[in-house]
């Protein structure tokens, strides 16, 4: 970096185990938070908030959820899309049943439902690993999607078969439903993501997070150190699904405003898995980076590539062709990252930081 840890000595273990042990890092975090909470709401327009920032935050939260399971506990899952759906439907049913209760409470409560379902579908992980577990979580994906379509009670017997964001207010500002205030929605999303990221990083650096990583790295040794695989794996499934569930209800209530069962299909699960892989397995920063690349890059390409091609070449391309281009780029990126840097963008960032730290010397 442009700064070093030189001169910053740690006198206590508390200071040594702090999340951002270097003063400048802390400064940067506050700087990012100010940008996030003040600058972007002031400067961002409807498109920037609604099509870029809010979905980016929603997917970041879902990616954190999946990363807890896949990156930190080593249990690969393709059910995250469905767990998001559980959260969304649970929030929808609850807010219809109790309209007077604050919607924020329901957004978090919906995570609990998702966690329960996640634990149930996590039970096979006690016996099976790897590809076989992927298949059993895919079963969760298909079963839940089927449930969203075929159980009319879930979508309140309405004609469309879709759920829509009911209008709810927070501090007198409408934050869900048609005509909601985008800026308010964005700030609520950001607050949820910041708080839940903080919680996640706390859990990961404590005993429970360590027991997850023990299971990931060497399950036999973990068992002999006193970790019970049942508790470790199921708690990872629960926390992971909780995060996905909250992300799902945010997706419906704070971003899209409505959702069909197809909104939670396996494409979503794959997308979130790609975010985690590209961003970095076992890294919270990676969730942000991965979500940013996979969500924002295609939008930028769709917006900027056709005019650019138009201007500098004789050809004309449509925005759907641009979408194909971004699919190709992301596909190539995933393959290249899996080969060159399996720990993703987060590791790349760490390497860059280290190189800059010792610059101009090689090490």
């Amino acid at each position: 970096m442009f700064y070093r840890e030189a001169g910053q000595f740690k006198a206590t273990y508390e200071a040594d185990s702090a999340k951002f042990p270097i003063f400048q890092d802390k400064l940067f975090i506050w700087f990012y938070l100010v940008i996030g909470f003040v600058a972007i709401p002031l400067l961002g327009n409807e498109f920037f908030l609604g099509a870029i920032m809010i979905p980016f935050l929603v997917f970041t939260l879902a990616a954190i959820g999946l990363n807890i399971l896949t990156g930190f506990t080593g249990q690969i899952s393709l059910g995250s899309g469905a767990f998001m759906g559980v959260g969304a439907y649970a929030c929808y049913k609850m807010t219809l049943a109790y309209p007077e209760v604050n919607i924020l409470i329901f957004i978090f409560a919906s995570g609990i439902f998702s966690a329960i379902v996640g634990v149930f579908f996590g039970l096979p992980s006690l016996r099976i690993k790897g590809f076989y577990l992927v298949v059993s979580t895919l079963a969760a994906q298909f079963f839940l999607e089927w449930a969203f379509q075929r159980i009319p009670w879930l979508y309140n017997y309405n004609n469309t078969g879709a759920i829509d964001g009911v209008s709810r207010w927070l501090f007198g500002i409408q934050i869900t439903g048609g005509g909601a205030d985008r800026t308010a929605q964005y700030i609520v999303c950001l607050a949820i993501v910041v708080v839940m990221t903080w919680f996640a990083s706390n859990i990961i650096s404590g005993r429970i997070g360590r027991s997850w990583m023990m299971i990931r790295d060497m399950d036999i040794a973990a068992e002999l150190m006193g970790v019970r695989p049942l508790y470790a794996k199921l708690s990872a499934f629960a926390v992971s699904s909780f995060y996905c569930g909250v992300a799902g209800s945010m997706m419906v209530f704070l971003w899209l405003g409505a959702a069909e069962p197809e909104s939670f299909d396996y494409n979503h699960s794959f997308e979130i898995l790609f975010m985690v892989i590209l961003g970095g397995l076992g890294s919270l920063l990676g969730c942000f980076l991965g979500a940013a690349v996979i969500w924002i890059l295609p939008i930028l390409i769709r917006e900027w590539l056709p005019p650019l091609i138009d201007k500098i070449t004789p050809w004309v391309i449509t925005s759907s062709t641009a979408d194909l281009v971004s699919d190709i780029i992301i596909g190539i990126m995933i393959v290249v990252f899996l080969i060159m840097e399996p720990h993703g963008l987060a590791r790349l960032w760490a390497i860059i930081k280290q190189k800059l730290r010792v610059w101009p010397f090689p090490y």
């Binding site: 508390e14 706390n202 404590g206 997070g209 360590r210 990583m213 790295d217 040794a221 002999l224 150190m225």
Partner: protein, 273 residues
Amino acid sequence: MNAHDPHLSTKFDDGIAPGEELLHVDNISLSFGGVKAITDISFDVLKGEIRAIIGPNGAGKTSMLNVINGFYHPQEGTITFRGEKRRKMKPYQAASSGISRTFQNVALFAGMSTLDNIMAGRTLKMHKNFFWQMWRQGPALQEEILHRKVVEEIIEFLEIEAIRKEPVGTLPYGLQKRVELGRALAAEPDLLLLDEPMAGMNLEEKEDMSRFIIDVNQQYGTTIALIEHDMGVVMDLADRVIVLDYGKKIGDGLPHEVQSNQDVIDAYLGVSH
């Protein structure tokens, strides 16, 4: 370790005086299908001693350790640990009753740092629940720091301060073995099982490791059962030795007795049957 630390001084109060029986293995038989790995083995481990288990390859030494810490369940026989008699136990029960071990092939948590690996050994000593951990303030943080202090003492003891924050996957083999010993020690075990702690080491590393094993035994009073192939090391370190061959016990006693036992010599040098 510091005597004034409440977390460390309690560990000797397990009601067993040095020299009394800590572990007793009775008539253990273990087979995998038709393969008999262990046949009718009995022995005891006394509190405070270093007990070596030796024998040619495939003699059932590691299987024996796996039985003791609950990873394999024997078909016959019982294990009495600290006066508690069990037919079989789960690894979790073994760990929580004070049995800790290292592995023949280093089984560290490769993605975690040295510090986290040794902290992992303290898992059973930490009790703050999920919600405290989520906040990581107050009690949860205090607990974390209290255990960090214990871990730092172990790090100092094993002289691995410099690699405290290195991911263990990148460390050389000798250091990995040392970290693994640290992880086992962090659990403050009553019985420490070491599966070939010196395999693949050079002379200097072996000397270091031997010194650590003796120090652990004398400083912390930890009872140690170790498997080792280097006879020089075994004869110097061990108080008593068990010799296994083809899953059967062929010798048990003081090092020099075992050394002159004809069955043992035959097993190692080979005789025409």
